[in-house]
Subunit: 152 residues, 2 copies
Protein backbone atom coordinates (compact mmCIF):
# COMPACT_ATOMS: atom_id res chain seq x y z
CA UNK A 1 0.00 0.00 0.00
CA UNK A 2 2.93 2.31 0.78
CA UNK A 3 4.41 1.86 -2.68
CA UNK A 4 3.91 5.50 -3.74
CA UNK A 5 4.06 8.29 -1.15
CA UNK A 6 1.19 10.74 -1.63
CA UNK A 7 -1.29 8.30 -3.14
CA UNK A 8 -4.54 7.36 -1.38
CA UNK A 9 -4.06 5.70 2.00
CA UNK A 10 -0.48 6.79 2.71
CA UNK A 11 0.68 9.10 5.47
CA UNK A 12 1.91 11.67 2.90
CA UNK A 13 -1.60 11.73 1.44
CA UNK A 14 -3.00 12.21 4.95
CA UNK A 15 -0.70 15.24 5.38
CA UNK A 16 -1.76 16.69 1.99
CA UNK A 17 -5.47 16.23 2.76
CA UNK A 18 -5.01 17.69 6.21
CA UNK A 19 -3.35 20.76 4.69
CA UNK A 20 -6.20 21.11 2.17
CA UNK A 21 -8.78 20.98 4.94
CA UNK A 22 -6.94 23.57 7.03
CA UNK A 23 -6.34 25.99 4.15
CA UNK A 24 -9.82 25.74 2.64
CA UNK A 25 -11.43 26.21 6.07
CA UNK A 26 -9.17 29.21 6.67
CA UNK A 27 -10.16 30.70 3.28
CA UNK A 28 -13.83 30.19 4.14
CA UNK A 29 -13.47 31.73 7.60
CA UNK A 30 -11.47 34.76 6.43
CA UNK A 31 -14.21 35.45 3.90
CA UNK A 32 -17.32 34.52 5.89
CA UNK A 33 -16.64 35.98 9.30
CA UNK A 34 -17.34 39.23 7.56
CA UNK A 35 -20.88 39.84 6.41
CA UNK A 36 -20.17 41.87 3.28
CA UNK A 37 -18.81 39.13 1.04
CA UNK A 38 -22.03 38.67 -0.93
CA UNK A 39 -21.83 42.10 -2.52
CA UNK A 40 -19.28 40.77 -5.05
CA UNK A 41 -19.83 37.71 -7.22
CA UNK A 42 -16.17 36.69 -6.98
CA UNK A 43 -16.33 36.38 -3.21
CA UNK A 44 -19.59 34.39 -3.36
CA UNK A 45 -17.91 32.05 -5.85
CA UNK A 46 -14.96 31.52 -3.51
CA UNK A 47 -17.31 30.71 -0.65
CA UNK A 48 -19.24 28.23 -2.85
CA UNK A 49 -16.09 26.47 -4.05
CA UNK A 50 -14.51 26.31 -0.60
CA UNK A 51 -17.84 24.98 0.69
CA UNK A 52 -17.31 22.07 -1.74
CA UNK A 53 -13.59 21.58 -1.01
CA UNK A 54 -13.97 21.42 2.79
CA UNK A 55 -16.30 18.34 2.94
CA UNK A 56 -14.35 16.62 0.11
CA UNK A 57 -11.01 17.02 1.92
CA UNK A 58 -12.50 16.09 5.29
CA UNK A 59 -13.92 12.86 3.88
CA UNK A 60 -10.55 11.94 2.40
CA UNK A 61 -8.76 12.84 5.65
CA UNK A 62 -10.98 10.30 7.39
CA UNK A 63 -10.33 7.66 4.70
CA UNK A 64 -6.57 8.23 4.86
CA UNK A 65 -6.50 8.26 8.65
CA UNK A 66 -8.41 4.97 8.70
CA UNK A 67 -5.99 3.47 6.19
CA UNK A 68 -2.90 4.69 8.06
CA UNK A 69 -3.87 4.05 11.66
CA UNK A 70 -6.45 1.24 11.62
CA UNK A 71 -6.37 -1.03 8.62
CA UNK A 72 -4.71 -0.76 5.26
CA UNK A 73 -7.34 -0.29 2.52
CA UNK A 74 -7.23 -2.06 -0.81
CA UNK A 75 -6.83 0.23 -3.84
CA UNK A 76 -9.67 -0.07 -6.33
CA UNK A 77 -9.06 1.49 -9.78
CA UNK A 78 -12.63 2.80 -9.99
CA UNK A 79 -12.46 4.61 -6.66
CA UNK A 80 -9.02 6.05 -7.45
CA UNK A 81 -10.39 7.32 -10.80
CA UNK A 82 -13.31 9.05 -9.06
CA UNK A 83 -10.93 10.63 -6.54
CA UNK A 84 -8.58 11.83 -9.31
CA UNK A 85 -11.47 13.36 -11.29
CA UNK A 86 -12.89 15.03 -8.18
CA UNK A 87 -9.48 16.41 -7.22
CA UNK A 88 -8.81 17.73 -10.72
CA UNK A 89 -12.25 19.38 -10.96
CA UNK A 90 -11.93 20.93 -7.48
CA UNK A 91 -8.38 22.08 -8.17
CA UNK A 92 -9.51 23.91 -11.33
CA UNK A 93 -12.47 25.42 -9.46
CA UNK A 94 -10.35 26.54 -6.52
CA UNK A 95 -7.69 28.01 -8.80
CA UNK A 96 -10.42 30.00 -10.57
CA UNK A 97 -11.89 31.13 -7.24
CA UNK A 98 -8.50 32.13 -5.86
CA UNK A 99 -7.61 34.11 -9.00
CA UNK A 100 -10.91 36.00 -9.17
CA UNK A 101 -10.82 36.79 -5.44
CA UNK A 102 -7.21 37.95 -5.56
CA UNK A 103 -7.75 40.19 -8.57
CA UNK A 104 -11.01 41.64 -7.20
CA UNK A 105 -9.48 42.36 -3.78
CA UNK A 106 -6.36 43.92 -5.30
CA UNK A 107 -8.37 46.04 -7.68
CA UNK A 108 -10.69 47.26 -4.91
CA UNK A 109 -7.67 48.22 -2.84
CA UNK A 110 -5.93 49.88 -5.78
CA UNK A 111 -8.87 51.85 -7.17
CA UNK A 112 -10.16 53.60 -4.13
CA UNK A 113 -10.13 53.06 -0.39
CA UNK A 114 -13.82 53.87 -0.17
CA UNK A 115 -14.94 50.62 -1.82
CA UNK A 116 -13.15 48.50 0.69
CA UNK A 117 -11.35 49.55 3.88
CA UNK A 118 -7.72 48.38 3.99
CA UNK A 119 -8.37 46.02 6.91
CA UNK A 120 -11.21 44.27 5.08
CA UNK A 121 -9.28 44.02 1.80
CA UNK A 122 -6.33 42.42 3.58
CA UNK A 123 -8.69 39.74 4.82
CA UNK A 124 -9.95 39.11 1.29
CA UNK A 125 -6.34 38.83 0.11
CA UNK A 126 -5.53 36.39 2.92
CA UNK A 127 -8.55 34.35 1.93
CA UNK A 128 -7.32 34.24 -1.68
CA UNK A 129 -3.84 33.19 -0.51
CA UNK A 130 -5.35 30.32 1.51
CA UNK A 131 -7.38 29.25 -1.53
CA UNK A 132 -4.16 29.22 -3.62
CA UNK A 133 -2.44 26.98 -1.06
CA UNK A 134 -5.46 24.68 -0.99
CA UNK A 135 -5.35 24.50 -4.82
CA UNK A 136 -1.65 23.63 -4.78
CA UNK A 137 -2.09 20.75 -2.32
CA UNK A 138 -5.15 19.51 -4.21
CA UNK A 139 -3.16 19.47 -7.46
CA UNK A 140 -0.41 17.53 -5.69
CA UNK A 141 -2.87 14.90 -4.45
CA UNK A 142 -4.43 14.44 -7.87
CA UNK A 143 -1.03 14.09 -9.59
CA UNK A 144 0.18 11.50 -7.06
CA UNK A 145 -2.99 9.46 -7.51
CA UNK A 146 -2.76 9.83 -11.28
CA UNK A 147 0.78 8.43 -11.12
CA UNK A 148 -0.52 5.42 -9.19
CA UNK A 149 -3.44 4.66 -11.54
CA UNK A 150 -1.61 2.86 -14.43
CA UNK A 151 0.04 0.42 -11.99
CA UNK A 152 -3.33 -0.82 -10.68
Amino acid sequence: MDELPGSLGTSASLALRFGQTIFSTAALLFMCLDVEFYSYTAFCYLVTVMGLVVPWSMTLVIVDAYSVFVRCLHHQPRIITIIILGDLALSYLSLAAACTTASTANLLLYLDGSYCPAKLCTRYQLSAAMAFLSWFLSLGSSLFNLWLLPSL
Copy 2:
Protein backbone atom coordinates in the same frame (compact mmCIF):
# COMPACT_ATOMS: atom_id res chain seq x y z
CA MET B 1 -1.77 5.79 -34.89
CA ASP B 2 -5.46 6.61 -35.11
CA GLU B 3 -6.30 4.46 -32.11
CA LEU B 4 -7.51 7.32 -29.92
CA PRO B 5 -9.18 10.39 -31.45
CA GLY B 6 -7.77 13.58 -29.93
CA SER B 7 -4.31 12.23 -29.10
CA LEU B 8 -1.16 13.58 -30.78
CA GLY B 9 -1.09 13.13 -34.55
CA THR B 10 -4.83 12.59 -35.18
CA SER B 11 -7.15 14.86 -37.10
CA ALA B 12 -9.23 15.54 -33.95
CA SER B 13 -6.05 16.73 -32.24
CA LEU B 14 -5.33 18.96 -35.23
CA ALA B 15 -8.80 20.51 -34.85
CA LEU B 16 -8.27 21.05 -31.10
CA ARG B 17 -4.86 22.66 -31.64
CA PHE B 18 -6.23 24.80 -34.43
CA GLY B 19 -9.00 26.02 -32.11
CA GLN B 20 -6.47 26.80 -29.39
CA THR B 21 -4.36 28.83 -31.80
CA ILE B 22 -7.38 30.79 -33.05
CA PHE B 23 -8.81 31.53 -29.60
CA SER B 24 -5.49 32.45 -27.97
CA THR B 25 -4.59 34.73 -30.87
CA ALA B 26 -8.04 36.34 -30.64
CA ALA B 27 -7.59 36.88 -26.88
CA LEU B 28 -4.20 38.48 -27.53
CA LEU B 29 -5.53 40.72 -30.30
CA PHE B 30 -8.61 41.87 -28.37
CA MET B 31 -6.30 42.88 -25.52
CA CYS B 32 -3.29 44.24 -27.42
CA LEU B 33 -4.86 46.27 -30.22
CA ASP B 34 -5.66 48.63 -27.40
CA VAL B 35 -2.73 50.44 -25.81
CA GLU B 36 -4.01 50.74 -22.25
CA PHE B 37 -3.76 47.11 -21.18
CA TYR B 38 -0.53 47.57 -19.20
CA SER B 39 -2.19 49.77 -16.59
CA TYR B 40 -3.59 46.64 -14.89
CA THR B 41 -1.48 43.66 -13.81
CA ALA B 42 -4.25 41.18 -14.70
CA PHE B 43 -4.28 42.27 -18.34
CA CYS B 44 -0.47 42.12 -18.57
CA TYR B 45 -0.63 38.59 -17.16
CA LEU B 46 -3.18 37.55 -19.80
CA VAL B 47 -0.96 38.95 -22.55
CA THR B 48 2.07 37.09 -21.14
CA VAL B 49 0.24 33.77 -20.87
CA MET B 50 -1.36 34.05 -24.31
CA GLY B 51 2.09 34.93 -25.65
CA LEU B 52 3.18 31.51 -24.40
CA VAL B 53 0.09 29.62 -25.57
CA VAL B 54 0.19 30.92 -29.15
CA PRO B 55 3.66 29.54 -30.12
CA TRP B 56 2.99 26.27 -28.20
CA SER B 57 -0.28 25.63 -30.08
CA MET B 58 1.20 26.70 -33.41
CA THR B 59 4.09 24.25 -33.03
CA LEU B 60 1.67 21.43 -32.26
CA VAL B 61 -0.60 22.42 -35.17
CA ILE B 62 2.42 21.95 -37.45
CA VAL B 63 3.30 18.59 -35.85
CA ASP B 64 -0.30 17.35 -36.16
CA ALA B 65 -0.69 18.61 -39.72
CA TYR B 66 2.55 16.84 -40.70
CA SER B 67 1.31 13.65 -39.05
CA VAL B 68 -2.14 13.81 -40.68
CA PHE B 69 -1.25 14.94 -44.19
CA VAL B 70 2.33 13.85 -44.84
CA ARG B 71 3.57 10.94 -42.81
CA CYS B 72 2.25 9.25 -39.70
CA LEU B 73 4.59 9.93 -36.73
CA HIS B 74 5.58 7.30 -34.21
CA HIS B 75 4.38 8.01 -30.63
CA GLN B 76 7.23 8.25 -28.14
CA PRO B 77 6.24 8.11 -24.43
CA ARG B 78 8.80 10.76 -23.47
CA ILE B 79 7.53 13.28 -26.02
CA ILE B 80 3.89 12.60 -25.09
CA THR B 81 4.79 13.16 -21.41
CA ILE B 82 6.41 16.51 -22.22
CA ILE B 83 3.35 17.54 -24.27
CA ILE B 84 0.96 16.51 -21.47
CA LEU B 85 2.94 18.44 -18.86
CA GLY B 86 3.14 21.50 -21.10
CA ASP B 87 -0.57 21.35 -21.83
CA LEU B 88 -1.50 20.97 -18.16
CA ALA B 89 0.77 23.85 -17.10
CA LEU B 90 -0.52 26.12 -19.87
CA SER B 91 -4.13 25.19 -19.15
CA TYR B 92 -3.73 26.17 -15.47
CA LEU B 93 -1.99 29.39 -16.47
CA SER B 94 -4.63 30.31 -19.05
CA LEU B 95 -7.48 29.52 -16.65
CA ALA B 96 -5.87 31.82 -14.07
CA ALA B 97 -5.38 34.53 -16.70
CA ALA B 98 -8.95 34.24 -17.96
CA CYS B 99 -10.38 34.40 -14.43
CA THR B 100 -8.36 37.42 -13.36
CA THR B 101 -9.13 39.27 -16.60
CA ALA B 102 -12.84 38.49 -16.41
CA SER B 103 -13.16 39.58 -12.79
CA THR B 104 -11.10 42.74 -13.32
CA ALA B 105 -13.07 43.75 -16.43
CA ASN B 106 -16.41 43.06 -14.75
CA LEU B 107 -15.45 44.95 -11.62
CA LEU B 108 -14.23 47.95 -13.61
CA LEU B 109 -17.49 48.02 -15.50
CA TYR B 110 -19.55 47.56 -12.33
CA LEU B 111 -17.81 50.10 -10.14
CA ASP B 112 -17.78 53.14 -12.30
CA GLY B 113 -17.84 53.95 -15.99
CA SER B 114 -15.00 56.41 -15.60
CA TYR B 115 -12.36 53.73 -15.01
CA CYS B 116 -13.12 51.99 -18.24
CA PRO B 117 -15.46 53.06 -21.07
CA ALA B 118 -18.08 50.41 -21.87
CA LYS B 119 -16.66 49.76 -25.33
CA LEU B 120 -13.20 49.05 -23.94
CA CYS B 121 -14.50 46.86 -21.13
CA THR B 122 -16.49 44.76 -23.58
CA ARG B 123 -13.25 44.09 -25.43
CA TYR B 124 -11.56 43.00 -22.21
CA GLN B 125 -14.49 40.67 -21.51
CA LEU B 126 -14.30 39.22 -25.03
CA SER B 127 -10.59 38.65 -24.52
CA ALA B 128 -11.33 36.79 -21.27
CA ALA B 129 -13.99 34.67 -23.03
CA MET B 130 -11.48 33.71 -25.75
CA ALA B 131 -8.94 32.78 -23.07
CA PHE B 132 -11.57 30.55 -21.41
CA LEU B 133 -12.24 28.75 -24.71
CA SER B 134 -8.53 28.31 -25.27
CA TRP B 135 -8.20 26.85 -21.74
CA PHE B 136 -11.05 24.42 -22.40
CA LEU B 137 -9.50 23.08 -25.63
CA SER B 138 -6.08 22.87 -24.00
CA LEU B 139 -7.55 20.84 -21.14
CA GLY B 140 -9.20 18.54 -23.69
CA SER B 141 -5.92 17.95 -25.51
CA SER B 142 -4.04 17.17 -22.32
CA LEU B 143 -6.72 14.72 -21.12
CA PHE B 144 -6.80 12.87 -24.47
CA ASN B 145 -3.02 12.53 -24.44
CA LEU B 146 -3.07 11.47 -20.80
CA TRP B 147 -5.54 8.73 -21.71
CA LEU B 148 -3.15 7.52 -24.41
CA LEU B 149 -0.03 7.48 -22.22
CA PRO B 150 -0.55 4.21 -20.24
CA SER B 151 -1.04 2.24 -23.48
CA LEU B 152 2.39 3.23 -24.85
